[in-house]
């Protein structure tokens, strides 16, 4: 073959190879676009069918159709992947052929050309080189200079947390206590908890030693009021000899009241001689520790400098605020959470132990679910608009021990611990489910879809059943061993206050001012009582009586039973939204601005 002819043929072959590459590229591009436009798990058609399935759960044909469509979508996806893979090989092959032919073509055309003439003198070239090298160096240095001065250093702005130490400013706050009528030291106690007031130094020493030895036992939990609605969050207190008569106006049986500097809707929590609660506003979030005998604020600590805490708190409504969740105590530490998602731990002397932010909760009223602690863990029901989850944090470090994602909507209810056959379960209420979780690993044990709306009331437990209720939804009794619904009823439903169980009856307090009792086994209404005002504060069983405060501060005390046996009504003379705590033979009630201690004047 003549060389010229060879060159012509090679030119043609090069063009064919190039065209082959172009066609493969085009096909790959189309496949790629197809692949990008369809996502098998985001298929709209599939979504529609799955939505239909929700309303027709037993439609076998529909299930079959969904499966077929899902399979088809996946097959299409993997076929596209395969096509692209093969395309890549073909492209490589085409490129190799193209390069070989082109090289051969150029080799045939190869000739030694006449050497070019020098256009620039060496000296001139050197001069230009120096200039360009210097320019390149200057460019590097200028870039470095700009980078050095314009890089935002967020780490430099981050202030390392400093432990807050108690100082004299607390003396000023102590002086704000308005009423301290009497320091009670002679209460009869039936447990180890004592209400006497030892010498301050002795007390401090004893507390320090006790803390080291303290382990959170069931007995200690029941002796105290270590969480919202008392031990395990069940709304049942073991205290006795509690007052049944008081009057806020005259001060009768009001042992002391202390102004809480920063407002909050959370309820007081008591451990031994200390009362804990929190307050928050736009600028501060504070944990308070008071002497439960005197009402003196022993310390208050700000929850600040927490990594991840938002600079601006999330918007909340006035009836919830940033300090709606109650604290919990494990005998050595107090744990508090705020509407910002900040969770913090202090020891009983106010030393900050750890703090972290769980992420700003996406909650239009404000986060209100209270904390619970048990077995070295703090449980957080973190049901938000998206990314709901249940967390167990280490009490000593705050690190996540386990975390269980939840599919629930926002919930304002608090968790409850129950002991089922010797094993603890964490019971949560939210929309749409009431669920039980294993406390050691966060595994969901059972779940019943029965709730709807904005869930406020927390669950109750007794008689082997879990009870949950919510306004506009339902009241339900569930067997936590099997997850079976025992009964459901809609006669009276609470909106904010949680139900409580006692001796075969389930009590509720509603936002239309009704206190009602139901047969716990069947859900049948036993009695109802029309109160003066609506109930936000949850009813609590204490001293074998039902205590419940309406929002105007009137406490209704019932003798539990088949009749609405109202023992007493007492006016506090202050608004009450929080649930009272019971310790020793006293009641601790938080109003809008004050913490009251109610006890018999002796």
């Amino acid at each position: 073959m003549e060389k010229q002819e060879k060159i012509k043929k090679l030119r043609l072959a090069t063009i064919i190879a190039g065209a082959f590459i172009a066609i493969v590229c085009l096909l790959m591009l189309v496949t790629y676009l197809q692949l990008k436009s369809t996502d098998p798990i985001e298929s709209k058609s599939l979504e529609v069918l799955v939505e239909r399935l929700a309303s027709e759960p037993n439609n076998a044909e529909l299930i079959d159709e969904i499966r077929k469509l899902d399979l088809l979508a996946r097959k299409a996806y993997f076929s596209s992947i395969w096509q692209l893979r093969i395309g890549a090989y073909l492209l490589l092959f085409g490129a190799v052929v193209f390069v070989i032919i082109l090289r051969y073509y150029l080799n045939l055309k190869f000739s030694i050309e006449k050497p070019s003439e020098e256009k620039v003198k060496d000296s001139k070239s050197r001069f230009l080189t120096q200039r360009w090298v210097a320019a390149a160096g200057i460019v590097v240095l200028v870039l470095a200079f700009i980078s050095a001065f314009f890089t935002a250093d967020y780490l430099g702005k981050y202030k390392t947390e400093q432990l807050v130490v108690a100082d004299e400013k607390y003396d000023d706050i102590i002086e704000q206590i308005e009423v301290t009528e009497r320091i009670v030291s002679d209460e009869p106690e039936d447990e180890t908890v004592t209400d006497t007031v030892p010498q301050e130094e002795e007390l401090a020493e004893e507390k320090k030693e006790a803390r080291v030895e303290t382990l959170l036992t069931a007995e200690k939990v029941q002796q105290n009021h270590n969480a919202f609605r008392g031990p395990w969050g069940q709304g049942i207190s073991r205290r006795s000899n509690l007052p049944v008569q008081w009057d806020g106006d005259s001060g009768k049986n009001i042992l002391w009241k202390t102004e809480i500097p920063v407002h909050g809707y959370n309820s007081p929590v008591v451990w031994d001689d200390l009362v804990f609660l929190t307050g928050a506003n736009e600028s501060v979030r504070v944990v308070y520790c008071l002497n439960r005998h005197t009402g003196e604020i022993i310390w208050e600590r700000e929850a600040d400098n927490i990594p991840g805490s938002p600079a601006t708190p999330p918007e909340t409504t006035d009836d919830t605020g940033l300090a709606a969740p109650s604290v919990t105590v494990d005998g050595q530490r107090v744990f508090a959470i705020f509407g910002t998602g900040d969770i913090i731990a202090f020891d009983f002397e106010g030393n900050r132990l750890w703090a972290r932010n769980l992420g700003v909760p996406d909650n239009h009223y404000g986060h209100s679910s209270s904390l619970l602690t048990w077995d070295g863990k703090v449980f957080v029901q973190y049901d938000t608009q998206s990314g709901s989850r249940l967390l167990a944090l280490s009490t000593s470090s705050g690190q996540t021990v386990w975390e269980t994602p939840r599919t629930s909507e926002i919930s304002w209810a608090s968790p409850m611990l129950i002991n089922v056959d010797g094993k603890f379960q964490l019971v949560l209420v939210s929309y749409p489910d009431v669920s039980g979780y294993e406390v050691n690993d966060g595994r969901m044990l059972w779940s019943v879809d029965c709730m709807s709306g904005e869930i406020g009331p927390s669950p109750a437990y007794g008689g082997g059943l879990v009870y949950a209720a919510n306004e506009y939804a339902t009241m339900v009794a569930i067997n936590p061993k099997t997850g079976e619904t025992v009964w459901q009823d809609r006669y009276y439903l609470p909106e904010v206050a949680s139900p409580v169980y006692h001796d075969g009856l389930l009590y509720i307090a509603t936002t239309y001012a009704v206190v009602a009792a139901f047969e716990a086994k069947t859900g049948e209404l036993v009695w109802e009582y029309d109160a003066e005002d609506i109930f936000y504060s949850s009813p609590v069983i204490a001293d074998n009586k039902l205590y419940v405060f309406d929002t105007s501060g009137t406490a209704y005390i019932f003798e539990p039973g088949d009749e609405p046996n109202l023992i007493a009504t007492n006016e506090l003379g202050d608004f009450v939204f929080a649930t009272p705590a019971f310790a020793g033979n006293k009641i601790y009630v938080r109003s809008d601005d004050y913490l009251y201690c109610i006890g018999e004047n002796r």
Partner: protein, 437 residues
């Protein structure tokens, strides 16, 4: 033909979109089987036998030895080409671009800076052997054994001559890149040479889109500007360049005495042939001496200023470290702690580390960059100073010869030399005559 290349570029660009997807299929959850279907257990393929690492080393040694023989004794460009194709297939497409002498600089650095990393002997061999060979025979490694170089070499079709000052200025970048790679490896931040290896995506038929585009882009540029990665980017090439400068032996264009026929003058696509010096240009000159002294005195200043400025960028550079980046991100936007779509944040949140611990670690890393920045900046200043100093040094040359720093020992120039290859030359000239006719 130029239009054809442009079309090809566009096609390659589009193809890169697809190859990215083809190589990295998206993962998504398995169907939730409610039937009795048993999901098969995931299986993983067996790792490559450890002994194969020695095979890699042996192949490298054989390729280098054979190339030396081809350069110094056989003097055959054709054979050099075929050996380089073999090395491309082996180290590129078979070994998928790893193990690689270019990236081994980072392994050495990481091992030297006591981060608990123990360097495999094979990696050490891949780092040291090409440098030792360069010390004795020039950049033989670049000629045939480096898949990154070879793939570029194969697509050189119409090389353009670049002005010396452009080459010198761009030639600084490999040293800067080398310095950065060492700093990043020393601080256990990243292996940037590997991360930004433009050809590994081609060898593996898939990479992130931008890397595929970069690789194909470099190859397309390489059609007109020969071996752009080797000349203006490759950090290992910067080391080889220094070693090769002092090489005991080196490829010579002519096998015997140069007759100064000038035929080889334009034969090198890399502009790596130095011409004979002009007698007039190298006359003793007071101005040159003054310039030499000035540059020599300025070198310490360049080193200090470079060190000071680059050290000042430590906060910027440190952000390449995942911990520093994450710490900055979380301090700047704490709400991201709940970003379940961010794998790094998810991983951090699931770990035992607190943000305080992360920030402490990040500050330590920043400080490492502060001190490392002094060395990097000083090094850059030194390179700039020496480059400028070199411009004031004149070396007398009477023949055309390969520049020891820049020459890749590809052997192209050899076939241009009429000395000693009379038979071949006659054939060549007769071919030329045929074409001309």
């Amino acid at each position: 033909m130029k239009n054809f290349f442009i079309t090809t570029f566009i096609i390659f660009f589009l193809a890169s979109l697809a190859s990215e997807t083809s190589a990295q299929p998206q993962r998504f959850p398995m169907p939730e089987f409610q039937t009795e279907y048993q999901k098969p257990e995931a299986s993983t393929s067996e790792p490559r036998a450890a002994s194969m690492e020695y095979v890699d080393t042996l192949v490298l040694i054989l390729v280098l030895a054979f190339t030396i023989w081809l350069i110094f004794f056989k003097r055959s460009r054709r054979w050099i080409l075929w050996v380089s194709v073999f090395a491309l297939l082996y180290f590129g497409f078979y070994r998928l671009g790893c193990i690689c002498a270019v990236g081994s600089v980072q392994n050495i650095t990481l091992a030297l800076f006591g981060t608990g990393y123990f360097i495999p002997l094979t990696v050490l061999a891949f780092f040291a052997i090409p440098l030792l060979v360069a010390l004795f025979a020039g950049r033989v490694f670049c000629s045939t054994a480096c898949p990154l170089g070879v793939i570029q070499d194969l697509v050189i079709f119409k090389p353009t001559k670049l002005a010396p000052w452009v080459q010198k200025a761009l030639g600084l970048f490999p040293f800067i890149y080398l310095g950065l790679a060492v700093l990043f490896a020393a601080t256990a931040t990243d292996f940037i040479i590997c991360r930004y290896d433009p050809f590994v995506g081609i060898f593996r038929l898939g990479a992130e889109l931008h890397m595929i585009v970069l690789g194909i882009g470099i190859l397309l540029i390489g059609m007109f500007v020969a071996r752009p990665y080797c000349r203006f980017i490759c950090p290992y090439g910067a080391l080889l360049r220094v070693f090769s400068k002092f090489s005991r032996f080196h490829l010579s264009i002519t096998p015997k005495d140069c007759i100064n026929c000038h035929l080889c003058k334009d034969s090198c696509p890399f502009d790596a042939i130095d011409k004979p010096t002009d007698e007039k240009e190298i006359k003793p000159d007071r101005r040159n001496l003054k310039k030499f002294i000035t540059y020599a005195l300025l070198i310490p200043v360049f080193v200090f200023v470079g060190g000071w400025l680059i050290s000042g960028t430590h906060k910027t550079l440190a952000k390449a470290h995942p911990d520093v980046y994450l710490a900055n991100l979380l301090v700047e936007s704490p709400e991201l702690m709940q970003d379940t779509d961010n794998v790094d944040i998810e991983t951090f949140m699931a770990s035992d580390r607190t943000l305080e611990m992360l920030i402490e670690d990040a500050v330590v890393i920043q400080n490492k960059f502060r001190y490392g920045g002094w060395f990097l900046g000083g090094f850059i200043g030194l390179v700039i100073g020496i480059t400028l100093l070199g411009q004031a040094v004149y070396k007398k040359r009477t023949i055309y010869e390969a520049n020891r720093e820049k020459c890749y020992s590809c052997g192209r120039c050899m076939k241009y030399c009429p000395v000693g290859n009379e038979q071949e030359k006659v054939e060549l000239l007769s071919q030329e005559k045929q074409i001309t006719n």
